[in-house]
Symmetry: C2
Subunit: 191 residues, 2 copies
DNA sequence: AGAGTGAGTGATTGACCACTCATAGGGAGG
DNA sequence: CCTCCCTATGAGTGGTCAATCACTCACTCT
């Protein structure tokens, strides 16, 4: 019967959930867990706010789902970096992972969601999600690189430096202090 | 006339402002700029919410004032660390500053306010305050230590690592990943 | 064609929040 | 003792937010 426009109009709930998790990143990235409204998230996903509550039990579960989604994308990115390493040497693997990470955070959203989650850790469920995120990341980096503890720690320290620099929007600044912090940091332009 | 209790009942506005900036730290540290209510801040300071608005023009100005207050305390702490250095050697000065910083962030509040401010940088006034904070910190560390750019950068990278670890409450955890991240980090118990 | 299932929404609710205003009361100077 | 300024508050106000509910419509199976 719908001969003209063969486009289907309805999606499955699972497809919608995936869309929401993708589009909610930018919303939560800008204003964090408390500062983002469910109406805003719904608008980004192109659905009504009421339906958002059919897809997720409440705002907290929605946020945790978004954080988990980001965690998974970061892991995939690290794995991709490890696969591209030119040799099995721990330092080479770490460098290749760092390069992949630098490319990943070219879009601010992903990174900012993780920082926002880190800051909203006073909610137990969110703190648990953040701890799980870093637990899996650290274990993965350890396993994939085989590097020494100190090297892994420094890898993450540099990662946190990246995060902070991006969060405070200091990548573009042409001041001495900003140049000191961003020394040697690869900065890929957005998209 | 008030012979029994000689305690005064009124304070000057300046004294009250100082009290608010001290007590608001814990409130903003836990739930950030958006998640903290002005009523909460007023209650912590022991004044009415209405009077808070006589001391500060609005919530944003209040938050920025608290961030500036934290920035000043951190600078004092770094200066104190530099003064205690055993020699003028850049590495020794940096190490002494790091030690002082580790002691400072024994109370989570100060550090979390800075992280929360970093995450609320979508508000221009807050972003400016955060950038000013790090600008002065980096310049101070550079001037006081005389260290090379790379060393200064690594100093701050380790600082951000500290921040993240404290934020996600991983200092106490006895898991391999948490131990990797906290390697060699001095952890002073609260208060 | 008609019944049943799941996608999707408009309207609403009660709680709460940033911010305001009229006013009460302490303390110092005259 | 009176008065004037400053500290301080109670009682709102308009607006917004998370969450709910009754309801419509699209699609499928028989």
């Amino acid at each position: 019967m719908p001969s003209k426009t063969s486009q289907r109009t309805l999606s499955t709930a699972e497809e919608r959930r995936a869309t929401v998790m993708r589009t909610a990143i930018d919303a939560f990235a800008a204003r964090g867990y408390y500062g983002t409204t469910t109406t805003e998230v719904a608008k980004h996903a192109g659905i009504s706010q009421a339906y958002l509550y059919r897809l997720f039990p409440d705002k907290e579960a929605l946020f945790v789902a978004v954080v988990d989604h980001c965690a998974q994308r970061i892991r995939e990115c690290l794995a991709d970096g490890a696969a591209r390493a030119e040799s099995g040497d721990p330092q080479a693997v770490l460098a290749s992972m760092a390069e992949a990470y630098a490319r990943l955070i070219a879009d601010r959203g992903l990174l900012m969601v993780v920082m926002q989650a880190n800051c909203a850790a006073s909610e137990p469920a969110i703190r648990d999600a953040v701890q799980a995120l870093y637990a899996r990341q650290v274990e993965y980096v350890r396993a994939a690189s085989g590097a020494a503890e100190e090297q892994i720690q420094e890898f993450f320290a540099r990662g946190f430096l990246c995060n902070a620099v991006v969060a405070m929007e200091a990548e573009g600044l042409d001041t001495p202090w900003a140049r000191t912090l961003t020394l040697g940091l690869r900065h890929y332009p957005a998209e």
